[in-house]
Symmetry: C2
Subunit: 305 residues, 2 copies
């Protein structure tokens, strides 16, 4: 394919994306940090020294910069005429910012559910998105052709496109992504306070339960702050569960066990969804389904049963 794709921000997420896309597209990268640009060039990527140069003539631009810089970069790329998507972990505030600039239609909020506790271009991996869920938001003002354009690119690198509204996405990730960060931090802090004996006894359950606490803390802090209301609700829900468990831990442990097994053992069956029906796409996402391939007339999807 000859279409040009811009990737703005070349850390773990953007770097992995640029390296994967470079196998099948013309990719132009940019990062605000000169050292990161050098690393990306050394890895064989085409990289510009200015954001404006990178997005010029791009048909699609991926904004993969930290949350605080995201709305500025997205609006700049939209103004250059591209279809713009992003990889930020909270979606509603970004839509507010983009709409305030009158730039709604060609923006497709995105969120790949992939990452590690490492960061930076040196941690990037072109295989990071293989089989990963990748939310693409479908809002009332979204241009469906732009959405499908991004969906085709994202399924093309092996990810599963999950259609969702920004609000549904933010509520869901509060529980499955942001809450894990809070609980990992609470667990690590509780063990540290318990002293050296406890730290010596800490083994597998502690190691796994605190793994994401090794993430550079600025990232989860900005995610949780940007999704403050949904995260506070998820934390309050956990507080209620723990308060009940203080009386008897049995019901919580059993319900958590059944939930984990149900998640491990989910199955999905293939189906086709006609292209161009936004309501059918949102219904698919709400049922936990995803798009595997964007065809000319239909979308090949999988739906959990």
């Amino acid at each position: 394919m000859s279409e040009r794709i811009a990737v703005i921000g070349l850390g773990l997420i953007g770097g992995s994306l640029a390296r994967r896309l470079a196998g099948s597209h013309e990719v132009i990268g940019y990062d605000a940090a000169p050292a990161t640009r050098d690393l990306a060039r050394a890895a064989g990527l085409t990289v510009r020294d200015q954001l404006a140069e990178a997005v010029q003539d791009a048909s699609v631009a991926f904004a993969a910069v930290p949350l605080p810089a995201l709305s500025t970069v997205v609006c700049q790329a939209l103004s250059a005429g591209a279809v713009v998507t992003d990889v930020g972990s909270v979606k509603s505030p970004l839509y507010v910012a983009v709409r305030a600039q009158g730039l709604g239609g060609r923006f497709v909020g995105g969120h790949p559910m992939a990452g590690t506790e490492r960061s930076g271009f040196s941690a990037s991996d072109p295989g990071l998105y293989d089989g990963a869920a990748w939310v693409l938001c479908l809002e009332p003002d979204t241009d469906l052709a732009s959405w499908l354009r991004v969906a085709r690119t994202v399924t093309g690198i092996g990810a599963r496109v999950v259609p969702s509204t920004a609000a549904d996405h933010d509520a869901a990730v509060a529980r499955i992504s942001h809450l894990p960060h809070l609980l990992a931090a609470a667990l690590a802090a509780a063990a540290a306070e318990a002293g050296p004996l406890a730290l010596t006894l800490a083994a597998g359950s502690f190691r796994d339960g605190t793994r994401v606490a090794a993430t550079a803390p600025e990232l989860p802090t900005s995610m949780c702050r940007a999704n403050r209301l949904a995260v506070a609700a998820a934390a309050a829900d956990t507080v209620r569960r723990l308060q009940v468990a203080q009386g008897d831990p049995g019901p919580l442990i059993f319900s958590g066990h059944h939930a984990r097994l149900a998640w491990e053992n989910r199955h999905a069956v293939p189906a086709d969804v006609p292209i161009g029906d936004a309501d059918a796409l949102l219904d698919l996402g709400r049922r936990g389904g995803w798009i595997e391939r964007v065809g000319a007339d239909t979308l090949s999807v999988l739906v959990p049963v």
Copy 2:
């Protein structure tokens, strides 16, 4: 060595132990389930059909049965004359039961900090204890020669012996072992309640944060119930941290990050401790240290710095 060691209970923990000890000792196994005895015999272990036969003439007996059966098995093995240790995850209630039978001195409460979310002899692994912390309780009524006897056997299979009182042990594991089970269950339950979209988006942080919820729920439930007061205190501590984080998640995330990194980056230096000084042993454990080798006159230990 020709000394005879009995292993009562041949599930994941006891089966792994019996298989590891069988390389260097005469090991006699027993399990209440005939099918498990058959599996163990098929793996080459010597197994008796009665507990009394297994502990007869044993110098040390390891009780590796579920918590509800533990005090009965421990008292039965003590009555047969052996030094008895166990692998249960809560220690204080067991001491109460053993002392009520007037059987204090030769009992050495133990707890290997190893395990997986699987269970049963078929999941056993002779390498399970390599480098694992293994608490051996040292109480005012503990016979020190019995304690050293168990410590020699446990260090001999590659584990790190951590001396502790039962009370200190129970408080520590409430935070680094029982609390992780509660938090994993709360996270899994919260995601299940959030619905199919959330379950489709659940990725690495959810997978790791809920891994121990895959454990057969009877085990963590009996651990948490047996350690009820310390677990309730650990849960209450987490509730307080989450309530603060509902206002601003930043401080919790940063303190958890520093705690996890400090745990990852701990260093320990070698030292020697004279054999036969119980206070020095308990001080070692409180400082997070452990015994690597039991020599004739000294203990080779490592102490975190």
